[in-house]
């Protein structure tokens, strides 16, 4: 029963959702709409599970002063403070037109935004360093990749586009690289992935694939 019931639920829901593509009746759509709503509520509920999991994983290390306990403490304190700020003035926020509270906005503007932007900006430095130290034309494939990368980078910006005489051709070559070989490869990947997803979906619906139910 522990395995049969989830398989049965998966089969029924899966068949109903697939049927939506073939039965364009409003009653049927109302049914699938209801199921989608349940799904959205369930995924929102996963936030609570995530919260509990985060505490379960990191709190013991902090208490026992384990490896990197300081970082984990920062994580848990940040979590608690942001959560408290998010919950505080909740009613007031709703009544005043859902403006975010000052403290929560402050955390977002002056902590989250700079940290997130910094993490992303660091990529430029690491790409430059990795490109210089590791991106070598060691064989034909690496050479092709190197030439394509340099061409797309150069012709995508005004400095490359504006090179006298050849700038126009570089842009045309860059466009061709993106539109033809790039697309051919990506289409192949997309179609392969889609066929794989269809086959996995069918296996899950038919109960042949059970790994998502976990082991006993």
């Amino acid at each position: 029963m522990k395995r049969t019931l989830p398989i049965l639920i998966t089969f029924v829901i899966g068949v109903i959702m697939v049927g939506e593509f073939f039965i364009p009746h409003w009653r049927y759509r109302a049914l699938t709409g209801e199921l989608l709503e349940w799904g959205i509520i369930l995924t929102a509920g996963a936030f609570i599970l995530g919260l509990v999991n985060l505490i379960q994983v990191h709190l013991p290390t902090v208490v026992e002063r384990g490896t990197d306990w300081g970082y984990k403490a920062v994580l848990l304190v940040s979590l608690a403070v942001t959560l408290a700020m998010g919950f505080s003035n909740g009613k007031q926020r709703l009544d005043s037109g859902m403006e975010v509270s000052f403290s929560y906005k402050w955390i977002f503007d002056y902590v989250y935004v700079p940290l997130s932007a910094t993490m992303f900006a660091l990529l430029a430095f690491y790409i430059a360093s990795a490109g210089f130290r590791a991106f070598r034309a060691r064989n034909a494939e690496a050479t092709l990749l190197l030439v394509a990368a340099a061409l797309v980078m150069f012709a995508s910006v005004p400095i490359g586009e504006g090179v006298p005489v050849i700038g126009e051709y570089l842009v045309a070559l860059k466009d061709w690289t993106l539109d033809v070989p790039n697309n051919a490869a990506r289409r192949a990947i997309f179609i392969g992935a889609a066929l794989g997803a269809i086959s996995t979906g069918l296996r899950v619906i038919l109960g042949l694939e059970r790994s998502h139910l976990g082991g006993d």
Partner: protein
Amino acid sequence: MLDLLLRFQAMDRRWVFLGMAISIVVPMLLPFNLPFKVDGRVQDLYDRVEALEAGDAVYISADFDPGSRPELEPFFRTHLHHLFRKDVRVVMGTLWPTAPPLVKPILEEIAGEYDKEYGRDWTFLGYIDGRELAIKSLGQSVRKTYPLDDRGNKTADLPVMLGLDAIRDFDILTSVSAGFPGTQAYVLQIQGQYNLEMASACTAVSAPDYIPYYQSGQLFGLSGGMPGSAQYEKLVYADTPEENRPRLAATSGMNVLSVGHMYIIVLLFLGNLAFFLTRGGKED
């Protein structure tokens, strides 16, 4: 020469970082303007928005965070200017929990500049969790997916939603997307099923992924990264006198991008030159 190249190859990476920092900071301090052309994908996006008529409706899914802000915010701002200038109704939601504090003030600011009234000309529906499920649900009914807007009003009662429920009731769907859930999820979940007219503004790294969707007609337009945003700015503000233009963030960012790209290309060239001269190009 060989000795110099060997020393260059073994250079501390902090010098590389310093060079990158200079390549970014100098064009910011000493701005210069290099002309650039508009890509066909951005031109198509612009042309379709231009063809909208007053009263038409656009749904914007603003799915980005502070990390992708420099690439996508310029497009987002310019798109809102473009839409409000055309007197188009704007309904916006987001699938990213970190997006609302970022996108809501911008929407409010630009709507205010055009004297647009909340609830009648535009609305912000806020954040919805559920990823693909939320997208699928938007395909069926925006009103049911977002029973209340960000201000706690009933979505169905808002005048801006008159005649709008399922996403296909909107004339255009614009996905401003920094990753998942975003453009690809919209295309896979609902674009094909409902044959939506959809455009995407994405990060530069995602653009090659979405070109097949543009070629197949699933996206009518595509703006990739900062260059795409700069090209869109160029089109939207082409007839606006310079003194009346807002600060064109992507256009000014193109200088930084130009020098930064050149710096990386020079590093690639020198690194490979050193590799070939010192190892004779033989594989390890």
